[in-house]
Amino acid sequence: MRGRFRNSRKSFQLQVKANSAEEKEAVTTLDTASFGTISYRDEEAIHFPLGLPGFEEERRFITIDLSSLQPLIVLQSLNRPDLFFLTLPVEDIDARYDLKLLEEYRQVIGARGILPRLVVLAIVSVPETGPPTANLLGPVVIHSAHRLGVQAIRDDSRYSVAHPLALQGGL
């Protein structure tokens, strides 16, 4: 399935709500090493039925959008507070990114028919030396309404698993 999609930055907002008598939502906290203690409602969690390649046991994540890190979005494991990935919305890397969602992945997130609103993030690698790169061959695709995610790996060579990131002013 190919299609257009729009990432909305609103999709990433991690809503931290103060405890109040009116609010009866279940809120969980997670003590992360890098982002302090974060609070999230269970509905904000994203379920990854297949985990991620290399991390098949990691089934629950949340996206964190901190103004200090923008445009990077953090994909934080809810299972392991010490595990996260830095990601970028694919359109920040290639404004005309053409998503190819194979049938097997479409089924995992329940995307049928007309492409629903999907969040498409490329995992960024920042090596000790050398340029940071983004995986455009296998982006993380999140069905916001279903709260389901998968890393949808293409079967063509149109995009790279290690696309070098163009940085203003170098790194």
Binding site: S34, S125, V161, Q168
Partner: protein, 74 residues
């Protein structure tokens, strides 16, 4: 690399327990059937590449070069 030619319907054995059969040949695509024990992992190359990329990308702390990276992306 061992290079071998097979026609549709023919097979290759890898070791004792793995058989790769050519099921169908189209102009630009080959359909393979693979019989192997459950514990043998069979992956598209692109999935293996992503596995390696994920392992390299996984973090427990923010990179030292983060400020430069964020500034460079804005």
């Amino acid at each position: 690399m061992l290079v071998i030619r097979r026609r549709s319907g023919e097979s290759v054995f890898l070791g004792e327990d793995i058989e790769v059969e050519i099921l169908d040949i189209e102009s630009s695509q080959v359909k393979l059937g693979i019989r192997a024990p459950r514990e043998v992992v069979i992956l598209r190359k692109e999935v293996r590449w992503t596995e390696l990329a994920n392992r390299g990308a996984a973090r427990s702390d923010l990179p030292e070069r983060l400020d430069g990276l964020v500034r460079g992306l804005r």
